[in-house]
Symmetry: C2
Subunit: 255 residues, 2 copies
Amino acid sequence: MGRVLAIANQKGGVGKTTTAVNLGAALAQKGAQTLVVDLDPQANATSGLGLRGHQGTTLYDVLVGGAELSSAVVGTGLSRLLVVPGSRDLVAAEIELLSADGRERVLRRAIEAVSPHFDVVLIDCPPSLGILTINALTAADGILIPLQAEYYALEGVAELLQAVERIQAALNPGLEIDGVVMTMFDVRNNLAHAVADEARKHFGDRLFLTFIPRNVRLSESPSHGVPAITYDPQSKGAQSYVALAEEIVSRGTFS
Amino acid sequence: MGRVLAIANQKGGVGKTTTAVNLGAALAQKGAQTLVVDLDPQANATSGLGLRGHQGTTLYDVLVGGAELSSAVVGTGLSRLLVVPGSRDLVAAEIELLSADGRERVLRRAIEAVSPHFDVVLIDCPPSLGILTINALTAADGILIPLQAEYYALEGVAELLQAVERIQAALNPGLEIDGVVMTMFDVRNNLAHAVADEARKHFGDRLFLTFIPRNVRLSESPSHGVPAITYDPQSKGAQSYVALAEEIVSRGTFS
Ligand SMILES: Nc1ncnc2c1ncn2[C@@H]1O[C@H](COP(=O)(O)OP(=O)(O)OP(=O)(O)O)[C@@H](O)[C@H]1O
Ligand SMILES: Nc1ncnc2c1ncn2[C@@H]1O[C@H](COP(=O)(O)OP(=O)(O)OP(=O)(O)O)[C@@H](O)[C@H]1O
Ligand SMILES: [Mg+2]
Ligand SMILES: [Mg+2]
């Protein structure tokens, strides 16, 4: 039974998509059957995996049109790494879902039909705490929080945790915090160390030991439509996501 | 009559708030009566201007509760720089506005009552193209687009421009593109130059000549609750926003 992880943080630009794409690729390389679900209307994970402008069943068709999630799953060319593409009409889904019955559980029902076929499902979330992210947190077994080593990013974490508590109380009691991962970490920057210290105090051992460094290969690989592990496997960026995948697997969050 | 500028881009983490806070401070220093409106539920501009946890009338009270915008305006301690604080209940405003009459024009009506008292009003937008950003674009005379020199950020611009066209056609024919400003620009990074070249091709002279460099003072100043121009006036970051203010004034976008 696959574990469903929501990669979420309402702060923009903290590395949600970069984590979904590169952690997904690293887990697939380690042998896990991996599905990335692109729930962001920006559809960045979709283009980061080489499927920009994909025509076919989209997540909008699943959430609003009632299509099966399995009909939206496509390959990436990498073994064991499949993706459900996002699309800009997800913006419309936000509005249409608001009046749907059981509007918070639509994605959960859709994912339950496919998750047995995967070891892990990663949901890339948009930068908001609106109905799409609520759907992701309601569908998920765990949340993975990318935390950029910056002041504004740290400021928003308390609110994210409160949202998680509300979801656990009302919609998904099984939702766990699988961990927090520092992203774009620059060892020369005092602010970065200060934020990491604060995060360690707050999260204890739920702060992953693996820190993702700021590494230009991670920002270059999306323009080639491949994860960094394909674009430049020896780069610090690619290697840090391999290490994160190892840490996640060794914690036994999923079999 | 003050010019209303929406600082908008649905891509997260591109420097919208940093631009609203620091351009606002630089324009105020040059003598402009300046109002910053924090339309983002994260309320980062509010804390970046030293008003974290502000109790009082908020933008939610204005948009949903019908309060006068003038009753929400507070000082920052800097001459000629006032702010309408944001608050997390703006997330609820997104949902409540959807069923309101004239839901796209609520902010426009509220701002029209105060803009004559200012030379410029800067609206900091959340990272989405939802009802709050639509309100900002409907209220604005011009849009200022912060463009991070990264691939995913460039990818999203076409969609932002289409949203602007839709607003011009249906809600605000007077909306202009006041300009695009490159943010977090690292001269040593090839990708950054490639993105800037693409932006120049696309926007021509609407791409500001002033580029905002990646500069640690810009990410440190929010933790002190002041703009970089106060925290470290000689820093490259503070100076680049002073230069941007000069370029905007010299273009005559507002008197
Ligand atoms: N470790 C890193 N080193 C260098 N660049 C990075 C790193 N992680 C992410 N980036 C770049 O920073 C930008 C923001 O990252 P990304 O788009 O993954 O964040 P996000 O949280 O998904 O953003 P959004 O909130 O818009 O969805 C992207 O251009 C990405 O390529
Ligand atoms: N030129 C710069 N140099 C260094 N750091 C910067 C610069 N501009 C912004 N930052 C930092 O980068 C992060 C993202 O910037 P900011 O929060 O202003 O973006 P945003 O577009 O408002 O994000 P959101 O989409 O979440 O509203 C912040 O931590 C900020 O302090
Ligand atoms: Mg993303
Ligand atoms: Mg912001």
